[in-house]
Symmetry: D2
Subunit: 347 residues, 4 copies
Amino acid sequence: MIGVSIVGGTGYGAGELLRLLHVHPEVEVVEVVSKSSAGDDFSSSHPHLAEVYCDKFVDHLDLEKLSSFDKQFVFAALPHGASAEFVLKMANFLENGGVVIDLSGDFRLKDEAQHCANYGDSPFLPEVRDQSVYGLPEFFRKEIKSAKLIANPGCYATCCALAAGPISKANVGIEHIVFDAKSGSSGGGRGLKDLFHHPRRNGSMTTYSVLSHRHEPEIAQTLSASGGQQTSISFVPHLLPISRGIFVTAHIILEKEATYDELCSLYEKAYASEPFVRLRKSSPEIADVVGSNYCDIALHVRGNVVVVTAVLDNLVKGMAGQAIQNLNIISGLDEKAGLGSLGLGIV
Amino acid sequence: MIGVSIVGGTGYGAGELLRLLHVHPEVEVVEVVSKSSAGDDFSSSHPHLAEVYCDKFVDHLDLEKLSSFDKQFVFAALPHGASAEFVLKMANFLENGGVVIDLSGDFRLKDEAQHCANYGDSPFLPEVRDQSVYGLPEFFRKEIKSAKLIANPGCYATCCALAAGPISKANVGIEHIVFDAKSGSSGGGRGLKDLFHHPRRNGSMTTYSVLSHRHEPEIAQTLSASGGQQTSISFVPHLLPISRGIFVTAHIILEKEATYDELCSLYEKAYASEPFVRLRKSSPEIADVVGSNYCDIALHVRGNVVVVTAVLDNLVKGMAGQAIQNLNIISGLDEKAGLGSLGLGIV
Amino acid sequence: MIGVSIVGGTGYGAGELLRLLHVHPEVEVVEVVSKSSAGDDFSSSHPHLAEVYCDKFVDHLDLEKLSSFDKQFVFAALPHGASAEFVLKMANFLENGGVVIDLSGDFRLKDEAQHCANYGDSPFLPEVRDQSVYGLPEFFRKEIKSAKLIANPGCYATCCALAAGPISKANVGIEHIVFDAKSGSSGGGRGLKDLFHHPRRNGSMTTYSVLSHRHEPEIAQTLSASGGQQTSISFVPHLLPISRGIFVTAHIILEKEATYDELCSLYEKAYASEPFVRLRKSSPEIADVVGSNYCDIALHVRGNVVVVTAVLDNLVKGMAGQAIQNLNIISGLDEKAGLGSLGLGIV
Amino acid sequence: MIGVSIVGGTGYGAGELLRLLHVHPEVEVVEVVSKSSAGDDFSSSHPHLAEVYCDKFVDHLDLEKLSSFDKQFVFAALPHGASAEFVLKMANFLENGGVVIDLSGDFRLKDEAQHCANYGDSPFLPEVRDQSVYGLPEFFRKEIKSAKLIANPGCYATCCALAAGPISKANVGIEHIVFDAKSGSSGGGRGLKDLFHHPRRNGSMTTYSVLSHRHEPEIAQTLSASGGQQTSISFVPHLLPISRGIFVTAHIILEKEATYDELCSLYEKAYASEPFVRLRKSSPEIADVVGSNYCDIALHVRGNVVVVTAVLDNLVKGMAGQAIQNLNIISGLDEKAGLGSLGLGIV
């Protein structure tokens, strides 16, 4: 049995971890830490968990409680910055075989200048960072297997990297990739903000952080890590009037014309044995993956213009589900353990 | 020409007044007061008004600016409590022929106990209250004509009173009326609250203030003012996953059976010459009235059970549109002046 | 292992059965019949099942294929009328120990006059009907255990019966119950209809079948079967601008005043050991149960007016999930087998 | 007074024309033709027009009825193909000074090969086509003034051309423009289609006609007509889970770097005196323009990547509102006549 504790219990990340871990056959949730809500039922923050989890939030992590488990994981579901501080204190736990899966962006960027530009309030901590592995299984499964500290990828970054990865890795000349990304509002987290006030978001759409979102360098890093050469990209995130799900349209401008068949075979090879990537013959719908850990992808080609469409649930494959997929890999379990739920199809 | 100034400029009430008054042929908006946003463009709070209104919020009301107009109106779009305080300071203005239309609930309830129970933070001010007229034209048009201070009705209260009024006024024995009311989220105002966070509201529905909402005594007051006898009512508000619009289902349990035709004729008589009430043969859709000042109503009868369905736009007939309708009545204008826009039909 | 075949494969009922059965540890889906789509992948109708089910629809049921399983179930997910015809042909299968779970309304109503008035195109078939059990576990678990033919309850009927059952069963005088029910659009099924055209439904709300919906006699039948006395009820269904989920507001007018505590204890007793009914302290949200088999219920009391709010997912507890719950009961499995998924919370 | 008749009365185009013309001070709606619904109230197809228009659909156009008006317009709101046939019969009307505004795509494309590839069921009719003017006032106002036959632009094409036009016209080297366009479902029209079934569209998103939508050559034609040089473009339309509104994100890859200020001045010059184009400092929201004839545009620049975001209401500026704007131009009226309504802001 695997013991899991969670810090940062009131946010959407923790709520989704608890929802998913409830059906994981090999995991026991040991405790959930929330300083602000210590003593409260989980359902005070996550009403859908009412009566399912009967424990209360605790105000600090007690690693003793994890010690009886064969494998010990701590999920950090903290804000950027707070997470780095927390991980710093976990040195002993990591040395003794424990694993930390960090849902924040604190350890995602390898380049110090990029990190500081995008996460200015979070220390770079090079020694800790060097130990961390970027937890995108489709690209770094081998490194993940032996990781002690997982930097769990961003939701957009996961979807964009999976959409463009196989072309980027191949020896195909790319002029530029436009990532036009659309997300449900839960990506903005639980904190109240005017942009996420229901009367404003409902029935509407807008962009934010145009050409300046911190998932852009994260995408670039993944593509160049896997492909070698630097690709020119631009990333524009949009807010959809839905809560869950991401739709990415990757417009890839090639140097030369290509055919659907040759590009499709790149994707088939890349994802043939991937448990959570499905190649689809026509553009997927967000609803196809809501509630599931799948990322569905389709290709369209005309001359030198390639359009890759990809969907995932930002709270599952884009966050908590991917974190559990990482736990499964590290623990040597079936990668699908606890992640068998299919997309709702109708949302 | 009629001069209008607005206090409380950043809220949804002011935004909607400005939107509607833009097409009013007889009104000029003189100034809009917002203490918190003085000096800012209107569009800082109301981006849909960009370039249409080029003035900026001012930090206090300058009644001098209104003095050149034949008719002078001030719309108070302030929070409950703040509005009462504001009206208190307007005694001179009212004495000199000015009119205040108060969008808050501060002067709606005539009964002191009811007022204090529901608006505890707002003083009762009996002398001011005695001058005020409850601005529901379909019930109190005559009183409105000569009013100096209008207590503009609540959105739910308007829809419920219009739905049940004709039966309540008639000599039909009523056992009980259940008002099951459903509202879009803009009814909750611009202030950020967890209940109105988009990821929570979208795709969901719940109730709030069950059997304890302050529009319930307001409805009871209107029905008894018009009908004489006290009717037993209960009111349950729900939050719909939309921004605009109210749907009220009034379940009226009669003492005896009635027929569709006899009840329908009550409604036809009551609303025959009403410019903004439409009797419909089947249940209306919220979309039919969004953006317009209409309240659409339909009747269903089976034995002693009557179901009246009614829709309106909570920001128009439920607030700013009704306020302008009151202005038109007081000013002797066509009641439809500036309110000619039809519902969008498709929202 | 339990063998399951499904007839009527392209509808929402079959799609949801397949989605849920995918994670059921004791069930194997043997074949899925669709006359109209025989030879097509399941994903042609249910894209969210792509690559998960690799079989194709067949054009007729082959009971031989089920014969190797210890327990054999056929789920009929056919339109009203077609289902009765189908069940009639399954006499041998039923005699030989097979079980049919019928998702249609063909066998729900016990009273012939009621049946004919509401399902005029469907034969009454008294002998078959007599064998059928109404599959609402919270009321008829004992009968379900040995049933051969399950009339799986309607979505509204499930939610209303669970909301009002404990009061109805108790010795509390009830004047009248108003069921004001609100449903997502998937309740209308996969067939295209103007009422369910997206541009019309989105952002809007209306009623349909006011005081004439066929779930009303179904609710009355359940309440009187369980409580003995006939209760005066009225039922009004509404269409919400969402796809999944039902919200029922049961307004119960009592003959005498009651207290929250005494009524609450009725519900606690009724549902103490129910695996899928959760009593909540405040009104639940639809989002709390979307994707899950839960029905969440809360009570509000003022004098003689009781308001019970209840939510469920119309495609799960209101259809396919409840069908699987019935399978579990009949098969002697843990009632939660395959139904462990929690509500999404954020939809 | 201007007389207007409409053919194709039951579709969304006619509904929106009627909604908008109701507040047009100089227009009288003479008759509305619908073969399929002749004899029915307008409200049978457009319930939001109930009691406002009391006429019924007629089964054929009676031009005599228009003859008493100073200016005579016929709006063709017919399907593609049917519109060309209809216009062919209007030769006399056009010769006698009447004007036809065609909402279909039948006369939009000037190039025969493009027309046939995209509107294969519609005859090319070169002589009629030569008389037609593409009714995008911001580009072709001068030609519109004296036009007899207006090819009213497509919704996407309007938004994309307004978004990219000023850069395209300028002497700035453009590598490629990606138009990533997102539309509400009303763009698909009133006809029932599986893709527009509410349970499927709600809470979801997908693409359609990727790199093969017929608005793409229309956009290319407008940009090259205005700019001279051919621009490399690609166009991908998406379906949003809303009914009204379009959001276009134009990703413009320049040959060289540019600054925000220099590009912004191009837009300021182009649109300085345009009554319905608003330049915004940050990305607009769809809600800002819903119900109005505005197109709001914002610019973002980083190096050689320019992102232009633009919104409009597909039924207003993208269809009926633009048609009325064309009527106003041709009639010598204030271009804003009847189009004064502001966007709802909250939808």
